[in-house]
Symmetry: C2
Subunit: 313 residues, 2 copies
Amino acid sequence: MFQSATNEIDDLKDLQFLVEVLYVSIDPAMRGWISDVENYSEPVPINGTMRSFGVGKIISSKHENFKVNEYVVGWLGWQKFSIVDESKIQIKIDPQKAPLSKNLGILGLNGITAYAGFINICKPNKNDVVVITTAAGSVGSAVGQLAKIYGCRTIGLTSSNKKADICKSKFGYDEVINYKQTNDLSNTLKKIAPNGIDCFFDNVGGIQFDAVMENLNVNARIVICGTIGMPSFPIPVGPRVNRTLLIKRAKIEGLLVLDYLNEYQEIYNKLLKWYDEGKLVGEEDISDGLESAPASLVKILNGLNLGKQLVKL
Amino acid sequence: MFQSATNEIDDLKDLQFLVEVLYVSIDPAMRGWISDVENYSEPVPINGTMRSFGVGKIISSKHENFKVNEYVVGWLGWQKFSIVDESKIQIKIDPQKAPLSKNLGILGLNGITAYAGFINICKPNKNDVVVITTAAGSVGSAVGQLAKIYGCRTIGLTSSNKKADICKSKFGYDEVINYKQTNDLSNTLKKIAPNGIDCFFDNVGGIQFDAVMENLNVNARIVICGTIGMPSFPIPVGPRVNRTLLIKRAKIEGLLVLDYLNEYQEIYNKLLKWYDEGKLVGEEDISDGLESAPASLVKILNGLNLGKQLVKL
């Protein structure tokens, strides 16, 4: 359960600075951060500030490299003001280059995630057939667009006709499947990709994952970026993948974007270039006021958002 | 069903040569080659010669680079004499360097498989904790020894106390578990490797695989080299791996040694050096006469061999 609380702002210590938070990010991964199951990071403690990425403006500083009126992106938390040191900050941004909110979506962790998973792990080749789940989502849509930039053929899986339309019109997918309107997803994929799937960027797990596994090409590369379509606990059962991986000499790899934070600036620069050229766009779903954050989290866990979910403060 | 047949030897065409087959290999993969299920290669046709690796001596030749009295390793089949061209041959060997039979085991496809999977895919680091299934087998024991050469800590899983003894005394495993005498393999592994498993070379799938998956370290690398502990069809169910791969940022990759044949000579030279230094040994289980081949195949599928199964002609 989330509660709001008001506290005095502490005095800054040396090397700290005070950031006025302007937007905070709402992410599916937060389900894990507030769950009492094994995860890649410690759970947010009871009565702790909810962990989140944010963008904000420095309004007071005791660090010579972080000056008042500069804009930063980093771990600011669900709060109006955040006292941080350099370790919490990913990059400084120029507010002239793109709207502030974009730095939490297509130019933020979503874009970085898409790049790290698709480019670093899938290592796409021109004309590869690429399948993406949550194709209209903030990470999925970024992968879909990156795949087109790299000359691949893209097949998006999504959960509504409205999202399917956006996949085609905004994100340039070659093919889109509303998996909820398909009786036999495996067979539908087989018809669309008779020579098999080369790259698979998966955010869901479960039956969509299974259907793609039945249609892999030799040497397929699969990124597990999320498992939002599967319960966390107990571990669900499904078809064993071992023999498929063996006969297709395929690879599955789990991706955690936090492992790529040292490449953030470098990847950001590439994403910003494609954004400038109009090759990368990001939809946003922005709610107003910090009080709307918990409901926004529930909304994305139910797949009801259209684009990157943010809260504007 | 296997049948023996006697045929006249055809005349050699240009670029062909006739090899007297001296040893043939018996491999678990043959289960797949003679099954009517999807595989990485065409099934052996009904009434066709059983596909297999062999070592032999050239006794007649119409190819200037393959001379009479030279020894070769390649796809010779379960037959006494084999007419082949260069495309069927992996390497020429010097019979002075190692007993002929070794070129089908520790210095043959087994050693190449172990090297390709463990070195190329697992990319071991010193002090990595490495788990190997079928630890006493011809591939598993080669991986175990390579892991020691690379400074890793090795844990072997095997199916009998006799094999466990060999793992310790011949192959230098640091720890060996007879999984048939363990009630809770996952917990046994947790005690032996409390900081988690870095590399996993799996030849079986199923419950041994599941137990290792519950004990991965971050950034674990898993090679699927075989699935002999799982039925081929229908696809069995088991715990879904997606979330484990995600939170551990782990990688699973299927290995087919046939993808590495262009590196055969290079890997062979490395294996031969370690063999010369006494760092790599291979057990052999040799039966006599081609008629014994089918029974030898059944024997290895039941896990009753001790070392690389060969037939001496």
